[in-house]
């Protein structure tokens, strides 16, 4: 892997938000050890939108969980704002691949979950705002089992955004959405990111999604995952997804993964 200076298209050298050094992770099961991550080095700049891209089962969720403090690495350290990560923190919200909305709370109750410190009026205002943003109007009093899979995903994203974190860990947050809603949600996420410049690490196995969203795409190899390459997406938002540069970057990643872009 090449050591490169963290860059975004906007600024040349910016403050490092997250730094992962020498990350190895092995899981023990039935006495055998499987190595999932090998010597992963990662730097994420303040306000950067980073995509982790890799085949299913390669260790993207594992890496994200380590960055967020839910798992500890076998060796290596993660620091955020210069401080070692020892556990989860409400300033950094994780949107779980396995759907972490609470089934015993309504849509409103879920969004309000992290807002206990706010006054009732402020809570109501935030709830209304984020329900509108993710298009769940009319479902305020519904329980998650009354929602579709995609609605649950949007609800969890709303719950994460409602606490105004300075960092988001999103683990395939739009995986269960239809292609139209997925496009809308990508647009919304970019809009929020451009307005509030949260640092976002976004896991996906969708190459198009990664190239549409990210400042940089971290391409991971199959298990045990190493960082195969990091591709900088130097296209201004809003991105024209039929522009030559877009197609060039996208096809570059297809080639990198070893897929000819033909069916």
């Amino acid at each position: 892997m090449t050591e490169e200076k963290v860059k975004t298209p906007a600024a040349k050298a910016v403050k490092t938000k997250l730094r992962a050094t020498g990350i190895n992770k092995t899981f023990k099961r039935d006495g055998t050890e499987t190595s999932v991550l090998e010597n992963v080095e990662l730097e994420v700049a303040q306000g950067e939108f980073l995509c982790l891209l890799g085949p299913s089962g390669c260790g993207k969720s594992t890496l994200l969980n380590i960055c967020a403090g839910f798992l500890s690495p076998t060796t290596g350290t993660v620091t955020i704002d210069g401080e070692p990560v020892t556990g989860p923190d409400p300033r950094r919200i994780f949107v779980f691949q396995e759907r972490g909305v609470f089934p015993w709370l309504t849509v409103e109750g879920n969004i309000a979950f992290g807002l206990a410190k706010l006054s009732k009026a402020e809570q109501a205002e935030r709830i209304a705002h984020y329900i509108k943003m993710v298009g769940l109007q009319g479902f305020e009093k519904a329980y998650p089992q009354e929602l579709s899979g995609g609605m649950k995903q949007r609800l969890e994203v709303a719950r994460a955004l409602a606490v105004n974190p300075d960092m988001l860990f999103l683990d395939e947050p739009f995986g269960a959405l239809d292609s139209i809603t997925r496009l809308i949600m990508r647009g919304e996420l970019l809009r929020i990111w451009e307005a509030e410049r949260k640092t976002i690490i976004f896991v996906t196995h969708d190459i198009e999604e990664a190239v549409q969203l990210a400042d940089r795409v971290v391409v991971m190899s199959a298990r045990p995952a190493t960082i195969q390459t990091i591709v900088e997406i130097d296209i201004e938002h809003p991105r024209d997804i039929s522009s030559p540069r877009y197609l060039e970057l996208r096809d570059g990643i297809f080639n990198e993964i070893g897929l000819a872009h033909k069916i």
């Binding site: 923190d89 919200i93 396995e98 972490g100 609470f102 015993w104 979950f113 329980y143």
Partner: protein
């Protein structure tokens, strides 16, 4: 619903009662009561003031034994479950105690508490304790890790994590466990009362047989046991259906 569908269950019950009736009257020397004689048996028990007295006695014992067990076993089970969430090996002590029928404890409970309410309550307590503790252990073990992680992510730990995440996550399973265990407790109280006390529906059944082979009263007692058991179960089921708890039962 067509009228036919609606009256079918009633017809079915009528048919069963008819078979019961004719099976009994076709015997040479009749010992068992017909359905009607069972009804008159229930009426007789009511007139003698025994029925209500015995029902109250049985419910009293079940309540104390069951509630006592629930108050101790569920918190204990939740705690055990929480501290060994990651371990799959259960406490071997529980595994040895579990196959022992609570009725096997009858001699020992009479030895300790003598013939009386305490012995019967103790038996129900025993019968309820392990199932409820297992319910607690399994309920905690079954909480998806993602809920705990999400709770911690929003800054919860300790008591607040318990109140806002662990407790709501286990309640549906606890209620199912309570319902099943209440059924067991109701089975056990009848057996306990046959041996350990001089009142209650279980006592009514042995007493009616011993005092002059009053099989009409025996069957009357059985019918009452069935009806009250059904009532208890309906009560617990209505808890499961309450809106706040309903989420745990309908899978998406």
């Amino acid at each position: 619903m067509s009228p036919w569908v609606r009256i079918r269950p009633a017809l079915f019950i009528l048919a069963l009662l008819g078979i019961w009736h004719f099976a009994v009257v076709s015997q040479q020397n009749r010992i068992l009561p017909t359905p009607w004689e069972t009804v008159t048996g229930i009426i007789e028990l009511m007139q003698r003031g025994l029925l209500i007295k015995y029902i109250v006695a049985s419910l009293f014992r079940v309540t104390w034994g069951f509630v006592g067990a629930a108050l101790l076993a569920i918190p204990l089970g939740l705690a055990v479950g929480w501290f060994r969430r990651t371990e799959m090996a259960f406490n071997p002590l529980i595994q040895i105690l579990r196959p022992i029928s609570p009725l096997a404890w009858i001699p020992i409970s009479i030895l300790w508490f003598g013939v009386g309410d305490v012995a019967a309550i103790y038996l129900i307590f025993l019968a309820s304790f392990l199932p409820l503790m297992m319910t607690g252990i399994n309920a905690v073990g079954g909480i998806p890790q993602v809920y705990i992680n999400a709770g911690r992510n929003f800054g919860l730990s300790g008591a607040r994590l318990v109140i806002r995440v662990l407790y709501p996550a286990v309640v549906p399973q606890l209620i199912i466990g309570l319902r099943i265990t209440l059924g067991i407790a109701w089975l056990v109280v009848v057996a306990a009362e046959m041996i350990a006390v001089n009142s209650g529906l279980g006592f009514l059944i042995v007493d009616a047989r011993n005092a002059g082979n009053r099989y009409d009263l025996v069957v009357a007692g059985m019918v009452m046991i069935g009806m009250i058991g059904l009532m208890l179960d309906t009560l617990m089921r209505s808890l499961e259906k309450s809106r706040a708890l309903r989420w745990g039962y309908s899978e998406d």
